[in-house]
Assembly symmetry: C2
Homo-oligomer: 364 residues x 2
């Protein structure tokens, strides 16, 4: 067995061996409190997406802070298993689950917790129903509506009605509602966010209206995400928001002042081959997604990320020397977090402990 | 504890639950035998880069096949620890190691195996020497020469001479030689490979000549990589080639007929939202690097990879339907492999077993 490096509680952040993934608990709690405050007294609540942090312990903190539906989203069956195992009793899987083995695992899980799954195909709904009957389980069906992503999800309301009727008629499953997910590139101003966000969510609500028109109640409308957290909750009919990014935040969303960056990567300079270049000890093995940004060094930027190194370039003379540490902020935290086994948690710059990323590598 | 899905030996490949990472043992052995044949009777041998497959078991197979120096390269101290722990007794770490903690781990490791590390800075060489003396260890120093990458490594021979003199004069360390690494984008024809490869390696050899001119022997010249495996070995003075990719191969290198793709990702279609689109159940959580390519479906290509899904687009009507499986080939296997906990090993399309990716997540 290899000894794994894990800093002890009480260690000063600057003494933590790099590369490491730091989690600032003050920032995390600020983000959770923003949601609790925003959703105080509203019908619509947050259903945090666990794929962002991949930790049932953080998910429970998120729920305890308030403003949530009391459950989470998960991207994969294995991720849902980790969440249920960690004490979360209500999970919406936001993808289609189509193979025998994984539908079986879904059924097994549904005997321990309230499990819902996204669907967009009649054969798949029939398969889930049959398996649920065999296992004596009950699974909630959420019809996915594609509003902008070009991925899974129905494209027109009539198919939504057909699937809702099917889900409502078959044994072992219950029709629970609809969901959509959408993204907006760049750093939009509040007005753009509002116009675009309302437009996408409205498209999702059209399917709700069509389903209710044939007499089937739609209990859940799960739409909206971090960038519409304050818009979705104002739209009548939306019952929950699937916010992932807001927990750890990322530089791609840092136009949203209500949240702070909670997870950062700390790296050490290992080489300064020229006056304007510094090489850090962390690469794409531990990063991922869009290029990260460096904090606290104006004029220094991330030029590229290779397998095991980050290459920093400065406009003037490089202020960093060999042995110096610096912080990187990911543009896509959920992809980045998946590269790590644990967070080093910090309170006021001092290590509080180690938090295992229990759903890391849950690809199945 | 979560039950993890692991297929049993004897399972047919088409029945393995997806997404999964398949390792074709016939292809792997073909690749290793190509190297054994190429380096039969040459002075220059292969030092396989373990970052490609991250498995000491595969590294041992690689060495046993022949044509190697009997050791491996590793990218990180933690990766080297996994290799030594798995029975490899000779490791060259191809990066600079500059922090106290990691230099200490290097010394500890050097008491169990022959450990060499790349260096490009006098202060760093002094630090390694001091730590080695304290620990009673001996560490080999390899001066890194930058020939084309713009990353770590010295840029001119005179600094190489200065560092070699320093390494040769200090206690606890031994000057062993020099190394370089270079890449060539695209799919070059053999002539371009030969011209470019020779040019880069020659630049590295200039430093060897300069160091030898001051009377210091240069035992190791570790240069070349998969795309120059058959060129580097013909250049007098090169003692070893750092080939990583050739083990698993990738679509980015598939112009090299002597090797076959040994690692592939199998995925299942979970949604077919339009006539020309199919969504697969694997995304960037388990892929990474350049876009993968799909096998066996001409006219179908990978349009994009989202967090948890791959979006396939077909020129005509999509031949894949929900529940169908398909194979993806990574363009950058080492980044991709790092997303997985194990390979499912195959012999003639039948599962032989599970091979843990022991150095997965070795970021430290």
């Amino acid at each position: 067995m290899i000894e794994t490096y894990r800093p002890l509680p009480g260690t000063l952040v600057r003494s933590v061996e790099t590369p490491c993934l730091l989690l600032d608990l003050n920032a995390l709690e600020k983000n959770f409190n923003t949601i609790a405050r925003t959703y105080e007294g509203t019908i619509c609540k947050m259903r945090a997406h666990a794929k962002n942090h991949k930790s049932p312990i953080i998910a429970k903190k998120q729920i305890q802070a308030g403003g949530t539906v009391g459950g989470v989203c998960a991207a994969k069956v294995s991720e849902a298993e980790v969440m249920v195992n960690g004490g979360i009793d209500n999970v919406l899987i936001t993808n289609q689950i189509v193979t025998q083995d994984k539908i079986g695992r879904l059924c097994k899980l549904a005997k321990k917790a309230d499990i819902m799954v996204a669907a967009d195909d009649p054969r798949n709904i029939k398969d889930i129903s049959e398996a649920a009957v065999t296992h004596g389980a009950s699974i909630g069906i959420i019809i996915e509506v594609d509003t902008s992503m070009g991925r899974g999800g129905i494209r027109d309301s009539s198919l939504g009605v057909e699937l809702a009727e099917l889900a409502a008629s078959l044994p072992g499953i219950t029709f629970r509602g609809i969901m959509s997910h959408q993204t907006l590139p760049g750093k939009p101003d509040p007005e753009t966010r509002e116009i675009e966000g309302r437009g996408y969510i409205q498209k999702c609500l059209e399917t709700k209206t069509a389903i209710e028109a044939v007499g089937i109640p739609v209990d859940i409308v799960s739409s909206g995400e971090t960038w519409t957290y304050d818009i979705a909750s104002l739209i009548p009919g939306v019952t929950e928001v699937q916010g992932g990014t807001y927990a750890l935040m990322s530089h791609a969303y840092d136009y949203m002042d209500a949240f702070s960056i909670a997870a950062k990567i700390m790296s050490t300079v290992i080489s300064t081959p020229s006056e304007t270049v510094a090489i850090g000890d962390v690469g794409s093995r531990a990063l991922g997604g869009v290029l990260p940004e460096i904090q606290d060094y104006p004029g220094v930027y991330v030029e590229t990320v290779s397998d095991h190194q980050v290459i920093l370039r400065s406009e003037g003379k490089m202020p960093l020397k060999i042995g110096d540490t610096f912080l990187l902020i990911s543009g896509q935290q959920d992809i980045m977090v998946n590269r790590w086994d644990y967070f080093v948690t910090l309170r006021d710059g001092i290590v509080e402990g180690i938090l295992d990323i229990e759903a890391r590598g849950c690809v199945n």
